[in-house]
């Protein structure tokens, strides 16, 4: 049977853009020029998402799905990448003329990996996307040359990421053994001669993905990595890769009835509970803002899994909404850290920030309130939406844990605001505060406004999410999309 495969526009643009950037580095180093090219590539890919597909390929294997879910996640990823791009500029390491150009190249490549994963319906395209995301990430994590903790973080990441990738591949192999298919989808174990193998394959794939999502108990690398690397890269790890992975995971489970208690469902439930409780507990005792955000990020993955586990009309809409809300607020905090106090990641450095930088402290408070889920920030509505989805899906136990662990979250988010309100202690010298460059300041303002505006008028984003209800489409079988 003749069928068509196709390449998403954004992937195409990002591939070409990466080549252009490589060419630029080969011709001559100029950080400013490469930064501008990198930004242009990202913006071009954003435009390309909304264009009709141009590149069809003849072939029998469908690699990407052309659906709204993929486009939505891709837009979210590219917007996050643009935000990270803006907050990287004027970063001391990145501005280094000898290595700065590669930074933007790696950023483009990581984005390419993330965007590929969102639409992937084939094991190969998913795995290629995943590694295209992971390997540049490794380079980016280690990018603070001369810093030993950056190297340490990168080493931890490469070793553990290798373990996870191996498990993922083994899972694919087991599934292939049983089903003879490389479709990126959880196999239906009901009608198989040897269901155990397929089940084990699914579990292994899940474990691999949970590692990348840093869900408990696969989360241990996240705090160390976020602490070791530069702030924009930390944002990349905390936001961009999680959107990509979550989008892919939703697609992987499109075929599984999550109402039914199956091996996969059980694992997701267990991981969701552990992540919600564990992430919040981890964040509770941290003194470093980045480690706290690592814990918070783990907890938010747990909340997202609750939405994911609540099949029904609200499930995808609430996940989509929550992804956006989480990304905006987390990016906002990282942008503030990068702009105000790139060196001051200890929470105590933020003492008296309301007096020293009232606007920045106010923006920070908005982001934190959003993450804590307090109105009028968007995080409240996002969490409410998840609760609504959970109620519709009958996941009362999970919701109970969500609410209780959110209470723990309240403590450490509000603690930061409290510290910003308090005057600085005398015995501790105040860390110097810098002014963010114009673009970063504008980014912070936009993110803060978005956090508030979508919190007060969530209608637009909700409508956007409603369109995703029927998505994502399960990947096509032997026949591709015409």
């Amino acid at each position: 049977m003749m069928s068509f495969s196709f390449l998403p526009n954004a992937v195409l643009v990002l591939c070409v853009g990466a080549l252009v950037q490589m060419l630029g580095v080969a011709i001559g180093r100029n950080v400013a020029r490469d930064a501008v090219i990198g930004l242009l590539v990202l913006v071009a890919s954003l435009v390309a998402v909304s264009m009709p597909t141009v590149l069809y390929m003849a072939g029998s294997v469908a690699l990407f799905a052309p659906d709204v879910w993929a486009s939505y996640s891709a837009v979210l990823i590219i917007l996050s990448a643009i935000a990270i791009h803006i907050m990287s500029w004027r970063n001391a390491v990145v501005s280094d003329a000898t290595v700065g150009s590669e930074y933007y190249l790696l950023l483009t490549l990581a984005t390419l990996g993330g965007v590929s994963m969102t639409g992937a319906v084939h094991d190969v395209s998913f795995f290629l996307g995943l590694e295209t995301l992971s390997l540049p990430l490794l380079g980016l994590i280690a990018f603070r040359n001369g810093r030993i903790d950056a190297g340490e973080a990168a080493m931890k990441y490469i070793v553990l990421s290798g373990v996870a990738s191996a498990m993922l591949l083994f899972g694919f192999a087991l599934t292939y053994l049983e089903t003879g298919s490389l479709r990126f989808i959880a196999p239906n174990t009901g009608d198989m001669p040897e269901p155990l193998l397929a089940t084990m394959g699914t579990v292994l794939v899940l474990s691999g993905m949970f590692f990348k999502l840093s869900a408990v108990p696969f989360h241990l690398w996240l705090a160390d990595v976020l602490e070791g690397t530069s702030i924009p890269v930390a944002a990349l790890v905390a936001v961009l890769s999680k959107i990509a992975l979550f989008a892919a995971m939703v697609r992987y489970f499109a075929s599984v009835n999550l109402y039914m208690s199956g091996p996969a469902t059980n694992e997701v439930i267990a991981v969701a509970i552990l992540s919600m409780v564990g992430g919040n507990l981890l964040a509770l005792v941290q003194t470093d803002l980045r480690r706290m955000l690592a814990g918070s990020s783990i907890a938010h993955i747990g909340y997202l899994l609750v939405a994911f586990l609540s099949p029904g009309p609200l499930s995808f809409a609430s996940s989509a909404f929550y992804l956006a809300a989480y990304s905006v607020s987390t990016l906002g905090i990282f942008a503030l850290m990068a702009g105000i106090m790139p060196q001051g990641t200890d929470i105590r450095d933020w003492h008296g920030m309301f007096r020293r930088r009232p606007m920045a402290a106010a923006a920070m408070s908005i982001m934190l309130l959003s993450l804590a889920g307090i109105p009028p920030a968007v995080g409240f509505f996002a969490k409410f939406y998840i609760a609504a989805a959970g109620m519709a899906g009958g996941r009362l136990g999970l919701l109970l844990i969500l609410v209780m662990s959110s209470v723990i979250g309240l403590y450490y988010y509000l603690r930061v605001i409290r510290i910003m309100l308090m005057p600085a202690p005398v015995e501790r010298p105040e860390r110097e505060v810098t002014s963010p460059w114009f673009g970063n300041g504008a980014l912070i303002a936009v993110l803060a406004c978005v956090t508030l505006l979508f919190g007060v008028f969530p209608g637009t984003l909700v409508d956007l999410g409603r369109n995703l209800i029927v998505m994502p489409s399960p990947p096509p079988g032997s026949s591709g999309q015409p």
Binding site: K156, V163, T199, M200, T202, F211, L220, E267, A270, L282
Partner: protein
């Protein structure tokens, strides 16, 4: 003129907001000017609204102004709406016009206080809340106003909070009225769940179809709320102490308006109360007991403001007795005339207090007749009206209206009322004779300015002639007031035994005044306050304060001391420390060693596999 109705509330509210935002930086003269203009507009709008309403097409009906729909959820519907009918019209006029006079007077009274702006913030907020209370058509907004006047009362009693007794008095008033507020709130919730709306009309229409027990409970709770607000037995103990506030506060809040809110509420819901004769009987009994109880206390007070406070309580007792007897018009009429003469008495007392160096003990005054003749005549007018001297005073006609209705229900109530009137005439003229006659025991300084004199004069005239808008059949049959209210409160019932009752009611106050003259006429030596044990008990609120202190306050404080360490809080502390502990324990996983991390991944995967298999 529907547009004017919200403006009547907004005028004082705007003044309060402006003063609040000025943070006391506005000079006293400008503050007074602003208050004068704001309240003047409020009163003017009130009068215009009243005139146009009464000449308008639905002068016997009601004018509804729906400002916005507020809550519309799950079968419960409430909107923020104002209603003007003839009942709320009377209240609105009392609040805005008498409020205007008292605030003008207060401008002069508080002129030298550094916190004058704060004073007027509270006062204007009070007027706005009170107007909201009387004009709202929905009981949620009524509750809003009800709490608003309660808070303003608290803030104003404790206005001079630097002195501990004032702060204590404010707290006492707040706590005691809070008991009533809680009962009121429960009544509202009961009605809201039963009826699905708190609109007055909806409640009145739904009441006859509701189970009798539920309606009885609701009216009982409403009565409880009203009783606390109006300082009736057994929740009366706060009112005498409330005199700690500035005197204009006592005139406006603790005499003319706030304490009558309960009377208005019951009159507004009279159709519901008519369904529960038991509760009405209780209401009448409470009024009956309070009349005699408070008059007894007033007989032996030495503080001029406390005399007036007990007389307020006693007069409110007449209103409750009237309500209990179904004499709605009588209660409202007495409410209006009482607002005239009691505001007058308080303001006259305030002028005296200002002139004699803030002395409030009547036994240290004396002979003030010559030194302040204007205030003397104003006080005489108010006292005559309070005592109900026949024919020439407003209090006479309203009291007789109540007594006649009470006689028709139960002669015992009438007898109590007459006895109360007798005691009233004795205690108020005791106060007059001791204060204004005899040797001067203090020296009055300064003059009572025109700003104080004009409100006194206006209210003095009203206290005398205000009663002639309702004269019983046997004396001339004028029924302006009851005709005004009959579309809302129903026709006035036929009078029985009018002339004889009137004659007795006319003679008794005269006997009382004569007796007071005999007892306290100037004798050449200074009168002294009695100090027998019985008198001391009477003076101390018949021992109610001591009783409540032993029965409620002390056990409560003991309980508080017992729970000083807040054992419930321990639970939360425990919760917090357990969470912290788990957080730290969980943090132990973060060793920083890659092999351990990899081991955890392996453990997780193996566990997941075990779970699956």
């Amino acid at each position: 003129m529907a547009a004017l109705l919200p403006l009547i509330i907004l005028c004082p509210l705007a003044v309060a907001v402006i003063l609040l935002l000025s943070r006391g930086t506005m000079p006293a003269r400008a503050t007074c000017g602003l208050v004068g203009v704001g309240m003047g507009l409020c009163a003017l709008f009130g009068v215009i609204e009243a005139v146009t309403f009464l000449n308008g097409p639905d002068s016997t009906g009601a004018l509804h102004v729906v400002l916005w729909h507020w809550i519309h959820v799950g079968g419960f519907d409430t909107s923020f709406a104002l209603t003007l009918d003839r009942l709320s019209l009377v209240m609105m006029l009392v609040v805005s016009c008498i409020g205007f006079l008292i605030l003008v007077y207060a401008c002069s009274y508080m002129r030298d206080d550094p916190d004058i702006a704060r004073f007027f913030v509270y006062m204007n907020l009070f007027v706005a809340s009170m107007l909201l209370l009387v004009l709202s058509s929905d009981m949620i907004a009524v509750y809003f106003g009800w709490e608003g006047v309660g808070v303003c009362s608290y803030l104003l009693i404790g206005f001079w909070y630097h002195e501990t007794p004032n702060a204590n008095a404010a707290r006492k008033a707040f706590v005691v009225t809070r008991i009533g507020d809680a009962l009121f709130l429960v009544a509202l919730l009961l009605l809201a769940t039963g009826v699905g709306s708190l609109d007055f009309n909806a409640v009145i229409q739904a009441a006859p179809h509701a189970p009798h027990a539920a309606i009885t409970l609701a009216t009982l709770l409403l009565l409880g709320g009203a009783v606390a607000k109006s300082a009736q037995l057994p929740l009366q103990t706060w009112l005498p102490d409330a005199m700690a506030g500035p005197t204009p506060v006592s005139a406006l809040i603790h005499a003319a308006t706030m304490v009558t809110a309960g009377v208005y509420l019951i009159a507004r819901l009279h159709a519901v109360f008519l369904l529960t004769p038991g509760v009405m009987l209780l209401c009448a009994v409470i009024g009956f007991v309070t009349i005699l109880f408070a008059a007894g206390s007033a007989l032996v007070q030495t503080d001029i403001k406390r005399v007036l406070a007990y007389s307020t309580m006693s007069q409110l007792g007449y209103m409750y007795m009237a309500l209990g007897c179904g004499a709605w018009q009588g209660a409202m009429f007495h409410l209006v005339t009482h607002a005239f003469f009691k505001a007058l008495l308080f303001m006259a007392a305030g002028s005296i207090i200002l002139r004699v160096h803030h002395e409030q003990d009547i036994f240290k005054m004396g002979g003030l007749r010559q030194e302040m003749p204007g205030v003397f005549w104003a006080f005489i007018a108010g006292s005559a009206a309070l005592a109900g001297l026949p024919l020439i005073t407003a209090g006479y006609f309203s009291k007789e209206m109540i007594l006649t209705s009470a006689y028709n229900v139960a002669p015992l109530f009438w007898l109590g009322g007459i006895l109360g009137a007798f005691l009233t005439s004795i205690y108020i003229f005791r106060c007059v004779f001791i204060t204004f006659w005899g040797e001067a025991r203090t020296h009055a300084h300064g003059r009572t300015g025109i700003v104080q004199a004009v409100p006194l004069a206006i209210l003095g005239v009203l206290a005398i002639i205000g009663g002639w808008m309702e004269v019983p059949d046997s004396l001339g049959s004028v029924h302006i007031f009851s005709n005004l209210l009959s579309p809302v409160l129903g026709e006035l019932p036929e009078e029985h035994g009018g002339a004889v009752l009137l004659l007795i009611g006319s003679i008794v106050p005269l006997i009382g005044v004569s007796l007071a003259w005999m007892l306290w006429k100037p004798t050449g030596r200074a009168p002294e306050a009695l100090d027998q044990p019985l008198v001391r008990v009477l003076r101390a609120d018949w021992g109610f304060d001591a009783l409540y202190d032993v029965v409620f306050v002390r056990p409560y404080l003991a309980l508080g001391r017992l729970n000083r360490n807040d054992f419930i809080d321990r639970l939360y502390d425990l919760l917090a420390s357990v969470t912290q502990f788990f957080g730290r324990a969980f943090g132990l996983m973060q060793t920083g060693q890659v092999r351990r991390y990899a081991a955890w991944i392996a453990v997780g995967t193996v566990l997941a596999l075990c779970l699956a298999v």
